[in-house]
Symmetry: C2
């Protein structure tokens, strides 16, 4: 089973892309809606959550993990790779590979949550591949709440997008990485505002393509992954807008199963 986790339901854009690219595999998804969002939280807290989510997915039969949350991918990938003995994919590297391959001017823009942008992970990874590349990034903390509210048609959403994208437009980037799994839902609003000649890179599609080649190269491992039955979608809370966002992403009704992390009452560690 392919395990996928995100801070909420945004990561379902990744599940959707994988389902489309690799329809023969079974997925188990976990969305941490009880603690969402991750993007404004500290690296230390996000790492703790990522570890717990991975343990949960393994307990449900996952043999491979996809970190479908850019904030978690930014700060927790290395820790998870050290601590868990199974293949770990994340949404950042495939998007970077694509951006480096397609950019002609070497000017790449990144948008994401505060955790993702502050981590500087995109910049470091891109410049490691090609130190002449210029990377411009902007945190866009209001986009997730706007998506969660379903404000796709509102004038304020368009104004806020313009405000966030304006500095990147001035820098004349020729590629823009959507560094948050909620953002593909805003793709149609982003494209005209960043400019039609800018290539918009959607990490969910890139990670699905990457996973496909990995499974082709590791055919005996690929056989181990259960290849039939239905997908399972777990969430740690059923929030007001969860169903409608899930439905918007998949274009069909999705059954969300609630699961609870139960912290031991009184189990409080205090650090001063």
């Amino acid at each position: 089973m392919i395990g996928i986790f995100d801070s909420g339901v945004g990561g379902m854009t990744v599940a959707k892309a994988i389902e489309k690219t690799l329809p023969e595999y079974r997925l188990v998804y976990f969305g941490d809606l009880a603690r969402t969002p991750y993007g404004s939280k500290s690296p230390e807290t996000i790492i703790r959550y990522a570890r717990e989510n991975t343990e949960f997915l393994i307990s449900k039969g996952a043999k491979l993990i996809i970190i479908a949350c850019n904030s978690a991918a930014s700060v927790a990938t290395e820790t998870l790779k050290e601590e868990f003995d199974l293949p770990i994919f994340e949404v950042i590297s495939p998007a970077i590979k694509k951006a480096v391959a397609t950019s002609k001017t070497g000017r790449i823009g990144i948008i994401g949550t505060r955790a993702t942008i502050t981590s500087g992970v995109y910049e470091k990874k891109i410049r490691k591949q090609n130190s002449s590349f210029k990377v411009y990034s902007t945190p866009c903390p209001l986009l997730v709440p706007l998506v969660e509210e379903g404000w796709f048609e509102k004038r304020e959403t368009k104004m806020i997008l313009r405000r966030y994208l304006h500095p990147l437009k001035l820098k004349q980037v020729d590629s823009l990485v959507l560094g948050c799994t909620h953002y593909p839902l805003l793709k149609d609003l982003i494209r005209p505002r960043i400019g039609k000649r800018v290539k918009v890179i959607d990490s969910s599609e890139e990670v699905a393509a990457d996973l496909k080649s990995y499974l082709r190269e590791h055919s005996s491992f690929a056989k181990e992954l259960t290849q039939n039955g239905r997908h399972h979608y777990y969430v740690s809370d059923i929030t007001y807008t969860a169903h409608s966002i899930a439905q918007r992403i998949f274009g069909r009704e999705i059954q969300l199963n609630k699961t609870t992390y139960a912290p031991q009452s009184g189990e409080v560690k205090s650090e001063k």
Copy 2:
């Protein structure tokens, strides 16, 4: 010690009001920034968090609890009163008392998070006091993220406020309850948009006044509350904007102590 909890640092508006009204008492504050916000989460999850926060404050010496989060006050007050044997205050009842006392036309507006508004608690409580009162409410889910971003001067914030307040204005309310502890930070933007003749009711001031009369009436209990030393501010995460919001509320530097609720790894309860 007076214990106060909130989903984040917004509840510090309540701590600030109590500090001003009752400077002789010592406070212990807990802001659950690792799981913030509560307003979009389900009642069941919010109740679980409220219980844990109360246990934490008691472990730090609290003899009285103030629920300084409208979302938690809306859905968790009864449970906490049943489960804990100490006085429990919350931000809703005092604001309602004030609104009912000051409204002349009997038309009251309420703004808050989705959890607060969906709970219908304000309407129920107001109409219990006077069934001829009309209560109009609007969930304003984007206001917390806008405050957290510090977007106090931005045009988008003003437009979003106007959009949220417009239906209440049409209903000609003469009192508006700020049903979320973040909203007092937007008071200066709310006043001209709802209309100058509308009385804006800030729960933090009302709960402080209410607590003051309670302590006057229960003087032997009041003596038990520690009356010297300094206040303690605990948070479950230090997020990017926590310090700046705390500082904006208090008008001075606030030392935030990080504390961690440690869920047992693998301790996962699954409900289908």
